[in-house]
Structures are given as C-alpha cells and as structure tokens.
C-alpha cells in the first residue's frame, strides 16, 4: 500500500453499458490535499465514473495514474491498494453483520480467527476522532444513516484510503451533522488526503471544494476553480442555461380542508410503533411540508397515507369521507397520488420497460386496456409524451427501468403520478438525489397540482425545498409531530431544534389549528 498519495490522474476514460456510452473520454487530475467537486445532472455518468475508479467497473478504455505511475485497477482490492476508497450513496454495509464485522470484511490484515477482536481498538480510536459513538458489536443495519456513513468512512480509512470518493454524502445528514461532517473532512484534507465530492447540493460544493468538475452526458464539460463562483454561476455551468434558482413561491390563501388526519398510529416492519398520534389537516391549494431527519416515521406515515400500510389507530378523511380502510388502488381512483421514497423498489418495477412503468398505475383501464388486452400503441404514445415532458433520459421506451439512472427513474415516477391531475399528492423525498433541473421539474409539478386546487403533503429532508414551497411546515420526530408552523412565521432555527427533538424553542410552537 503506497502510504503516500500524491495524485490521481485520469486520462481518456470511457465506459459503456450495452452500447450506451455512459462515460466518454473523461480526463482530470486530483492532487493530495485537494477537495474537488463533481457535479452533473442525473444520468450524466457520475456514478459510473466513480465505479471505474474504485474497480467496481472495468473501463473500456483509458488510463488511471496514481502518483504519475500507471495503475491497473481491476477490482476493489486494487483500488484500496492504491489508496482509493469510496463511500457510496447507498451504503455498502451488510446490515446483518455487526459494525466490526463490516470493518473486517475483506480486510486482509485482520486475523483469520476472530478478526473483530484485533480491530476493536483501532476502530474505537478512529471513530472517536470522527465523533462517532456507536457500539461496535451492534448490527450495522440498526444504526442511523448518519452513523452508518461515518462507519463507512472509518472503514475506508482503516483500509488506507487517501483519496476519498464520496457520493452524495450529506443527503442523509441533518444540518448540524453536515457541519461536523465537513469539519472532519477538512481535517483529513489537512493531513494530506484528497476528496472527490459528488453532490447535487451546489452550496456545499462551493464552500467545501476548491475545484469543480462538471460532467454532462458522460463528457467532462468543465474543470473550474470555485473561486469567485456563486450559486448562479455554478448552476449555469452545470445545466448550461436557464435560471432555476428561485425565491419563495408560496401562496398563503388556501381552500377548504381536503385531507384530515386524526391521531394516526402505525407500526414499522419490525412491529415497533413508528408513528404515534399524528394529527394534521391539508387544505386545497396548499403544500403541507413535513420536515425531519430520516427514520423518524416519515416512511411509515407516507405508507399509511398511501394505503399500503395499515393504521393501528386513528382516521384519515379525504374530501369528507373516511378512507382509513380503503385500499391503495381505490385511493388512487379517488385522486390520491403517491411518489414513494424508494423509487427503485416501490415506485417502479426494475425489470419492466419504461413504457410499462409509465402506465403502472393505469394500465388496467382505458385507454391502455380494452377488455383485458393491453393496447401497446396507446401505452407507447403515452410513455413517449411522458418521457418528453419530464425530460426522462432513456435509450428507448422499451429499456428496462433498472438501466436508468436514479434521477431519471424518479422523473418517470413523478411524471406518472402527477400526470393524472390528482387532487392530493403524497410526495416522499421527491427530489432526493435529483439534479437541479430535474428537482425543479418535480417541484413545479407539485406547484402545478397545488395551483389546480389540489393538496400536497411533502415529506422531505431538504429544508430549503420545504421552506421554498410549503405554506405550512410540520416537524416529525420519533413518530410524533413536534409542531406546525405557518408561513410567513416559519422559523428555520426552531425547525432545526424540533428536528432533533428539542421543544423548548426560541419561537413558540404554533397551534395546529387552521383557519
């Protein structure tokens, strides 16, 4: 293992999947002590590029040099040997193994017999430096996402990583966690590490990175210093044109109540109460935001509202009617659309084509089906118009959805759900992992639904997004609503406190009553 890492140099790297060029002729250089950002729209090839650097994919052509010597990275082990470590957006911890077993996984210098014993001290020492305080013998799957992420970083450091590739690292972190996370990264950089940061949060790139690489349709479209750049210029670099960053787009007046949730209680998959006594109302023409750190019951709340999880207690009234026991398809028929959190597993069927997924909610009725027969032409033309309208990048309508990038899958799902002009939308993290343009497209779809007189429940971890479009924001913590604030009195600080469970807030929590 070369203990010193001086530079990584990529020359003309290309990679294609079944004839689709995902990364084309990309060259760049990173020196030790640098933090470099990598940005690009969904499907621009960022993940593929990184997987080539870490040995998960073998590039079709191109040269990778470490310290100016040619490096053959054929598999992950080689990447570690050259000091390259990556923390993936979807974590690579085995949930059923303990934290220490995850650390020992594939670590050659650990002992064969009872490997965790020899690693314990080193792990505890390193994790203390990262402010990570976890029981090393607990199953990794039981840790909070933020903790899992730090375990991953400690793991690649213990493997001698000097170039850290981080894919959307802050998407699972609360604002205060994010600050301390970047603090730790800065310390690593001052010790001679390099960081390649992939993020859609451009403000993070601006404050943390000295340089930014822009990937567009698989090509490197720019390599800029971030000096003197602001949000506007960096956004322009990324999407080329168009002004997208906008201010508040909230309308204060709203109509009568459309969704009424009373004392809703439900358990999670493991039988533990996940939401307890949730009560709120959503009006026509209103976006009701629900903030909170992930894992506080948002997932279960969305599932109960969609009708795919049973409520243990409480009531949901939609348009004056009790729908607590109404099934998901019936709810959809009544005009409740859902954008689920896990787009690949809940929102789409990976093995089915883009076209089939586009009509997943309506394939059984006209115009897509007639007396039990699917009408392919209707499906295809609908799918084509959907992909055009929502700028879903796909080789064709017949491509299996699993081959699309996460952002494009999300655009497809959001487009499908919102195209039927629903009267109510339950959106869970609808812009998670999306680039600026795609996120804006989804957001304006939500706004459009609101302007048409529909109600929207927006569950999101992105506070900026919530503040931008919600006329009321509730905060969920450990399955309970900490409080609800009305626009324009929404106080960012209080929300931040509520998100961490602190009630003795600066601003008084507002009553949930609505005019």
């Amino acid at each position: 293992m070369p203990s010193e890492f001086r530079s990584l140099c990529v020359e003309s790297l290309s990679k294609s999947f079944s004839g689709v060029n995902v990364v084309r002729d990309v060259s760049f250089r990173i020196e030790a002590g640098q933090a470099v950002g990598l940005i690009g729209e969904n499907g621009a090839g960022k993940t593929t590029l990184m997987n080539c650097l870490t040995g998960m994919y073998r590039p079709d052509k191109g040269i990778i040099r470490i310290n100016d010597d040619r490096a053959e990275i054929r598999r992950s082990r080689d990447a570690f040997a050259f000091g390259i470590g990556m923390v993936h957006q979807h974590f690579m911890l085995v949930p059923t193994l303990s934290v220490l077993e995850n650390i020992a996984l594939g670590l050659e210098r650990s002992t064969v017999f009872r490997p965790v014993r020899t690693l314990r001290d080193e792990f505890l020492q390193l994790s203390r430096r990262f402010g990570l305080d976890v029981d090393p013998d607990v199953a990794a799957g039981e840790l909070a996402p933020g903790e899992q992420q730090r375990v991953e970083i400690v793991r690649i450091l213990m493997r001698g990583a000097r170039l850290l590739i981080l894919d959307e690292p802050t998407s699972v972190l609360s604002p205060s966690e994010t600050d301390s996370f970047f603090g730790s990264l800065r310390r690593l950089i001052s010790e001679g590490c390099a960081v390649l940061l992939v993020s859609h949060k451009l403000d993070e790139i601006l404050t943390f990175c000295s340089r930014v690489l822009v990937l567009r349709h698989g090509r490197l479209d720019g390599d800029f210093s971030t000096d003197g750049m602001d949000m506007r210029t960096i956004t322009e670099k990324m999407i080329g044109d168009e002004e997208t960053v906008q201010g508040s787009r909230i309308v204060s007046e709203s109509g009568p109540v459309i969704l009424e949730v009373r004392d809703l209680t439900a358990r999670n998959d493991r039988g533990i109460p996940a939401i307890q006594g949730i009560t709120f109302e959503v009006c026509r023409g209103e976006i009701f935001g629900i903030a909170g750190i992930s894992g506080n019951g948002q997932r279960e709340l969305a599932a109960v509202l969609a009708g795919v999880r049973e409520a243990e207690r409480g009531m949901i009234r939609f348009d004056g009617e009790d729908i607590t026991r109404v099934g998901p398809r019936e709810r959809l028929e009544r005009g409740i659309a859902c954008i689920p959190e896990d787009r690949l597993h809940e929102g789409s069927i990976g093995g089915m084509s883009v076209g089939e997924n586009a009509v997943l909610r309506s394939f059984y009725r006209a115009p897509f089906a007639r007396s039990g027969w699917i009408r392919k032409t209707a499906v295809r033309s609908f799918a084509r118009s959907l992909t055009e309208r929502f700028a879903v990048v796909t080789p064709s309508i017949d491509t299996p959805v699993r081959w699309l990038s996460g952002g494009n899958i999300q655009k497809l799902i959001a487009g499908r759900e919102l195209s039927g002009s629903p009267r109510m939308v339950i959106a869970s993290h609808p812009t998670y992992g999306l680039d600026v343009r795609a996120a804006e497209a989804v957001r304006s779809m939500l706004l459009h639904c609101r302007d048409e007189g529909g109600g929207v429940v927006l569950l999101s971890e992105d506070l900026d997004e919530l503040l931008e479009i919600s006329s009321r924001i509730a905060v969920i913590f450990r399955g309970r609503l900490m409080g609800i604030m009305n626009h324009p009195d929404i106080d960012r600080q209080t929300i931040g406190l509520w998100m961490t469970g602190v009630t003795s807030s600066v601003g008084p929590p507002r009553p949930t009553a609505h005019t």
Binding site: R75, S76, R77, V94, E101, L105
Partner: protein
C-alpha cells in the same frame, strides 16, 4: 419401554441424523453465500453410488468416501456453472440437478443392485465410554463418519461466525455488492461455497451406502435431500442448530420402525419425516419466528459486478 430400547432408538436416531447433517452443513454454507442449491437429493445419490462403486472395486473405505465427495462436487459444479458463472436461475438449475443426479446414479448403479458392500463403516470400539448409561452408546458407539459429520458442523459454525472468511461468506449472501466493493470476488466465494456444498452432499450419500444401509438401491436417498433443504431453513442457516435439528429428523425416521410394531400402517409411517418437514416449515413461518428465520437477503439472486 426399557432403557435399553430407548438407548437403541437414540443411537439409531443419531445415525439417521448423520446424512442429513452432512448435507445440511454443505447447504448452509452454499446458501449463506447466496446460492440456493435444490440439487441436494441428486448430489447425494451420485455420492452414494460412487462411494459404493469405489468401495466394491477397491475395498478401500477412505478412497470410497473421497470419491463420493468428489463425484458429488463435480455434479455441484454444474450448478455453479449455471447459477454463478452464467447467472442462471438457481431454482431451475437445482431442480434439474436433482433429476440428473437421480438418473445418473441409477445408471451407474445398475451392476451393484442387490449386492452388499464388501467393506462398510462399523461403530468405533470404545468399550469403557459406551458402557455409560443411555448416552454411552449414543455418543460413543457410532461410526467414524458420524463423528466427522458432527465435527464438521461444529467447525463450520466456527468458520461462519468466528473467522474472517465466515464474514466474507455471509456478506456474499447478504449484500454481494458490499462484499465485492470491499475487495472480494463474490463469484469466487460462491463457487467455493457451492463446491463445498456438493462435497458435503457426497459425504451424506457415502454414509447411506457405506454405513447406514451398506448397500445400493436405486432411489435410496428417499427424499432426504428435500428434508435437508427444510432442515437448512429450520436451522436458520446455523450449523449447530442443524445438528440438533438433524437429530430431531433422525428420531422421526427411527420412529417409523418403532411404531411399525404397534400396528400402524407403514404407508402412514413413511410419511412421518415429510409431515414433520411440513410442520417445521409451518411453525417456522409463524410471526414470532419470522425474524430468526430470515434467510440471507441475496439468497437465490444472481450477482455480477457490473450488473445493475
């Protein structure tokens, strides 16, 4: 029932448990890596006939057992090739393996039908210990293969839970992408686990034809391979649980013979192990047990590094 009777029932139960435990240990390792091999029955049959044939030809038991393991391993390599290398459907491949193995063993075994083995495994002679009451002969009057089976189960348990390789094995079956990203070759791990599973099934077959009944009859595995699949689930992929689970099933086998004297129709008795299997699966599926019985997440799923 006097205690001599109980002693002999228990002793035979442990003997009946031995082939189940051999094969279950192998299947546990295979499934832990993510490879579901439903071909146990077929591999066992090939092991049984090969062991018997080599024992007849050479009169060397060690050679016979080794050949049985190798032959079944070769059959499992077919499964490995289809499911690990070609990313094929593991269920279909495993089922085909059972048919193939049963047919092949029948073909090879034609000349040996009705002959008894010239050599066979005998219970070890440890007169002092086996005179201990009840458990004496249960524990100390078995044949060497039986001890090998229980010893292997113990070692496999240590391997899975207390070694670095065991961590890698579990990771391959739980989260292959994570396993691969940490520098392993999931394909290699799965190949090795599949071959180990095959060898173990071969040992189980050898036990049947060289110790348990010491003869070759076509179809002598009699569904044991399927019981092994159920036992693997019952054991929650833990070899030590498999050890006592195998004894439970072994006891049911012996019960057939005991109850025969009580005037119960033999057809009903022959169903006993399979009824027990169904019962075990039903009980295992109750809500309380569901978590403990969680199978490896990626069990049965093909994996390739660049697959999306």
């Amino acid at each position: 029932m006097d205690h001599l009777m109980i002693e002999s029932i228990l002793t035979r139960a442990v003997a009946a448990a031995t082939p189940l435990l051999f094969a279950a240990t192998g299947e546990i390792v295979s499934e832990r890596s993510g490879v579901l091999n439903l071909g146990v029955e077929g591999m066992m049959a090939v092991g049984a006939v090969t062991g018997f044939a080599v024992a007849t030809a050479t009169g060397n038991l060690g050679l016979a057992v080794g050949a049985a393991a190798l032959a079944a391993m070769a059959v499992s390599a077919i499964h490995g090739f289809i499911s690990v290398a070609l990313l094929g459907n593991q269920v279909v491949s495993g089922l085909a393996l059972t048919m193939f193995g049963l047919g092949l063993s029948g073909l090879i075994g034609k000349p040996f039908i009705g002959r008894s083995a010239p050599v066979r495994f005998m219970p070890v002679d440890s007169s002092i210990l086996s005179d201990l009451p009840i458990l004496g002969s249960v524990m100390f009057e078995q044949d060497p293969l039986c001890y090998l089976a229980f010893g292997m189960a113990l070692l496999t348990w240590v391997f899975i839970y207390h070694t670095r390789w065991g961590i890698s094995l579990r990771a391959a079956g739980e989260h292959p992408l994570a396993c691969e990203s940490m520098g392993h070759s999931v394909v290699l791990i799965r190949w090795l686990a599949t071959l180990f599973g095959g060898a173990c099934a071969g040992l189980a077959g050898a036990y049947l034809s060289l110790a348990y009944s010491a003869s070759w009859i076509e179809g002598m595995t009699a569904g044991r391979g399927w019981i092994v699949i159920a036992l693997t689930i019952f054991a929650a992929w833990n070899p030590l649980r498999a050890a006592w689970g195998a004894c439970l099933f072994g006891g049911v086998y012996v019960l057939q013979y005991v109850l025969q004297n009580k005037g119960i129709a033999p057809n009903i008795l022959m169903m006993l192990p399979y009824v027990t299997t169904l019962l075990v699966l039903v009980l295992g599926a109750t809500k309380r047990n569901r978590r403990r019985f969680n199978s490896p997440v990626a069990l049965g799923e093909a994996f390739h590094r660049e697959m999306r």
